[in-house]
């Protein structure tokens, strides 16, 4: 405690005292992130304002051997920013300035605590576009997005966060500041180190600034909704659309259970006896969009859609999309505990996987609604349960293990976009195999030999 006392004094002296929280009432709300059933109270929470202050904090922590858990908005779903015992939570939400929008190079430079949506809003003011749109974009930070390599609904056509990061400033575990990448579209000078930090979940360095690529904003968009009597038919539709050389910006599905929950919550007039609902969107040049939309409707019909709706305008599009937008809310209300998973399989295996999940749920007498990104095989099996029902939680664990096992058997991955953190680390070796798992550890040891940054995350 004594050593902590002197550490707390020095950190309060190097930041302003009001930017260091140590009271119980201040710390309890930082004991968790968006992940169910994980919590740990930190030693303190600090709020730096810029790269220099982050560096000063990290130096102090390194000196006192105090672990650092970096935190954006704490919406992570794998426990990445859940504190470890006696750690400093380095909360970066006050690094919240957009530093530059370069319309000649189509780039945007921002501090890591800027909210994702504000980045796209700023781009939109210049007719530009920042495509990655995680469901949490109204509150997630861009630093958190980069650290998790977050995806979103537009992944199939536009890719994920990684595809938009051109450079960054990182504070390394010893407090040194490194600048990685630049505004050049082409750059092969040395290893692509920025890529190492993308998706590193706060275990290698603290990203304090990012340089992002922007695109011209698509002018037109068309939304369609198709209902099916089998998930296979929906999956066939998706394959056929892609075979027809159309890359829609959205191809999202809900399974039967999720459609039922959405209808009972939002009452948008969906039939509840469908096996699959597919939400499709195409965007781009108005003429191309109209043409592609017509083709997609035709393909859906040929592949056995029982009902297809095409929105005639933006407002109707929003109404159709509300089925997908309400999916998570509708599920989250059913039971006290909602566990959002994110296993991912190759697109061709999606229907098989959805079926396996439904069977697993029945076998273990669990409620699991599945929805997700059909275009990129990323599923969100959502467990509706109660963390206080210990017997049921045991069945949840079993079902999760089976789902993960089957995912790996199908050539998939244990996490498509939420990260490993604490929640998935027991499956990581199984996923990667020994050699690549050890390589990962080697990288961690090389950059952070004293394991000061987010220890115990991704692996032990």
């Amino acid at each position: 405690m004594n050593s902590h006392g002197s550490f707390l004094q020095s950190i309060a002296a190097s930041l302003a005292p009001e930017r260091v929280l140590t009271q119980k009432e201040d710390l309890i709300p930082y004991s968790f992130d968006g992940t169910a059933a994980l919590k740990q109270r930190p030693l303190c929470v600090v709020f730096p304002l810029d790269t220099a202050e982050v560096s000063a904090c990290v130096k102090l922590c390194a000196e006192h051997r105090v672990p650092v858990v970096t935190r954006g908005s704490g919406t992570g779903l794998s426990g990445g920013s859940v504190p470890v015992a006696d750690c400093v939570v380095l909360c970066l939400v006050k690094l919240d300035k957009i530093l530059e929008l370069d319309t000649r190079n189509l780039t945007l430079r921002a501090q890591c605590g800027v909210i994702t949506k504000e980045i796209d809003d700023a781009a939109a003011q210049h007719g530009l576009f920042y495509p990655p749109d995680p469901g949490s974009m109204k509150i997630s930070t861009i630093g958190g997005n980069v650290a998790e390599n977050s995806g979103g609904l537009r992944g199939l056509k536009y890719g994920v966060t990684r595809d938009y990061v051109m450079g960054m400033t990182v504070v390394l575990p010893d407090g040194c500041v490194a600048t990685l990448g630049n505004k050049c579209v082409k750059d092969v000078a040395g290893y692509s180190l920025k890529d190492l930090f993308i998706g590193s979940e706060g275990t290698l360095g603290i990203i304090t600034e990012v340089l992002l690529k922007l695109l011209p904003r698509p002018v037109a968009r068309r939304t369609m909704l198709a209902l099916y009597d089998s998930m296979e038919a929906a999956a066939r539709t998706v394959s056929a659309i892609i075979a027809a050389r159309i890359i829609p910006c959205t191809l999202e599905f809900l399974d039967r259970m999720t459609v039922g929950c959405v209808e009972s919550y939002a009452k948008i007039g969906l039939p509840t006896d469908v096996e699959a609902l597919l939400l499709m969107e195409t965007d781009g040049h108005p003429a191309a969009v109209d043409d592609e939309a017509a083709q997609m409707v035709e393909i859906a019909r040929q592949n056995g859609a029982r009902e297809i709706k095409m929105a005639s305008d933006e407002a109707e599009g929003a109404r159709l999309a509300s089925a997908r937008r309400n999916a998570f809310s509708a599920l989250a209300r059913v039971k006290p505990t909602t566990i959002l998973e994110d296993v991912t399989v190759p697109r061709s295996e999606l229907a098989t996987m959805v079926k396996f999940i439904a069977e697993t749920a029945a076998r273990h007498r669990l409620q699991i609604g599945t929805f997700g990104h059909m275009g990129d095989g990323n599923l969100h099996p959502t467990f509706l349960t109660n963390e206080r029902d210990h017997e049921e939680m045991v069945r949840v664990e079993l079902a999760l293990e089976e789902i993960v096992g089957h995912t790996i058997a199908l050539g998939g991955t244990i996490t498509g976009e939420h990260g490993v953190g604490l929640a998935k680390k027991m499956f990581l070796r199984q996923q990667l195999g020994d050699a690549s798992f050890e390589l990962l550890r080697l990288v961690k040891n090389a950059i952070d030999p004293t394991a000061i940054l987010n220890p115990g995350k991704i692996f032990d």
């Binding site: 119980k24 309890i28 709300p29 968006g34 169910a36 704490g74 509150i139 206080r388």
Partner: protein, 434 residues
């Protein structure tokens, strides 16, 4: 505290960007998710109801923006009310001055409607007979204790006549009676905005409603429920139900967003009282916000304008977040010929009135008021409409001090609709008894 409600929060953080106190400080404890975490820590025995927790619960505006944002449907209203009741019960914030003011307002003025009106009459005399002017000129207000002195300029101007004197106990529409409704006149609304109650009655009459307005009305109890006095809130709920038998009317109309949000949940307060629980449920189903009622019953579009050409609309928190009524007030404004409704940026962001928040947290309240008025100014509208007496007073107070602002008028959608009806060429008065 109901643990199952606490547990419903999955700490996803989706409520954070909509919470005015979190956006101000960016500290989790000042967010809905953080406050719920503290409540849960108390329920789990990890901490006690402390002074710091008490302060936190009174820093919360109770604006319910978090309820609109929450994907998991967390019933924050109940958590908020229960937490403040715990704070009061544990006496962690108690001091003699605070106790005195709580006693005077919660237990005296807002429990005894006749006394409240008498106080209103006194205040009116003070304001009208020149004493106020004299006191201000002679700086006598410096004799008042600190808090009161700061409040003095914010004291609402009392109406010349209270609702009683403006509205008869029963009024009938000119033509056929389509509905029979009761009209709640509110407390602040009655004292400071009795003309808006008159307008509400006129609008109801113009739409075929027989309007019953009980003479002496009790406070709805929202003040008590939100300030940690659920027993008094329950007592007032019983008095309301005794005053208006919900069986006897088609609807019980309220025109104050803050009251309506509370009035619709009497069954929560009286669910355990066998003598009232059944009627409380019926009561809840009959309470209708005036805008909600007009739109669902298909109000008549006025044939004349209201004398204004542009207006913007500020949403009362408890109307939009508490009652989810957002479309209807706009529909009413849009139905008025010649009136352009300019959307207000952040229209559903709290203005800082929040019940008595402007008294308990003057600094945060002032920041929110500035943010609101900046947005109002950006619309260039000469008038702003809202539908809650607290918001109305707060906006009017703010605009009085902003002489440079283009916006000079605070009004309400019902008043504008009433003015439009009155301006109709064939109008010879809407009802028989006036």
């Amino acid at each position: 505290m109901d643990y199952s409600i606490l547990q419903q929060c999955m700490h996803c953080g989706m409520c954070l960007p909509t919470c005015p106190t979190y956006v101000e400080t960016k500290h989790e404890r000042n967010s809905p998710r953080g406050r719920i975490a503290l409540m849960r820590a108390i329920a789990d025995g990890e901490m006690n109801v402390s002074r710091s927790f008490g302060d936190e619960m009174y820093y919360c505006l109770g604006c319910l923006a978090c309820v609109t944002a929450c994907p998991a449907g967390v019933n924050y209203v109940e958590l908020f009310e229960a937490a403040r009741a715990d704070v009061e019960q544990s006496k962690v914030l108690e001091n003699p001055q605070r106790s005195f003011w709580r006693w005077l307002t919660l237990e005296i003025f807002f429990m005894k409607p006749r006394l409240l009106r008498a106080a209103g009459v006194l205040l009116r005399c003070y304001q009208q007979c020149g004493l106020e002017w004299l006191a201000r000129t002679l700086r006598l207000i410096w004799l008042l204790p600190g808090n009161l002195r700061k409040l003095e300029p914010q004291t609402p101007r009392m109406s010349d006549k209270f609702s009683n004197a403006l509205i008869d106990e029963v009024e009938w529409p000119r033509g056929e009676v389509k509905h029979r409704v009761a009209l709640l006149t509110g407390c602040v609304q009655d004292l400071a905005f009795s003309d808006i109650n008159r307008d509400t009655a006129d609008v109801l009459l113009a739409n075929g409603c027989e309007v019953v307005t009980p003479r002496v009305q009790f406070c709805c109890g929202s003040l008590h429920a939100h300030n940690g006095a659920p027993h008094l809130a329950a007592e007032l709920a019983r008095k309301q139900i005794d005053m208006i038998d919900p069986e006897s009317v088609d609807a019980i109309i309220t025109n104050a967003g803050g009251c309506g949000s509370h009035l619709k949940h009497y069954s929560n307060l009286l669910g355990g009282d066998p003598a009232y629980s059944e009627r409380a449920r019926l009561w809840d189903s009959k309470v209708k916000d005036i805008h909600e009622w007009l739109v669902t019953t298909g109000f008549r579009k006025p044939a004349a304008g209201c004398g204004m050409s542009e207006v913007t609309y500020h949403e009362s928190c408890h109307l939009c977040h508490g009652q989810k009524i957002t479309r209807q007030p706009r529909a009413i404004l849009n139905a008025i010929p010649g009136l352009r409704v300019i959307e207000l940026n952040e229209s559903n962001w709290c203005c800082g009135s929040a019940g008595i928040y402007n008294i308990t947290q003057p600094e945060e309240s002032a920041r929110l008021l500035t943010r609101k008025l900046d947005n109002v100014e950006r619309t260039h509208a000469p008038a702003v409409a809202t539908s809650n007496p607290g918001c109305h007073l707060q906006l009017a107070f703010g605009l009085r001090n902003r002489i440079q602002s283009m916006c000079r008028t605070v009004t309400q959608p019902v008043s504008m609709l009433a003015a439009a009806y009155r301006g109709e060429p064939t109008n010879e008065g809407q009802h028989d008894s006036r």
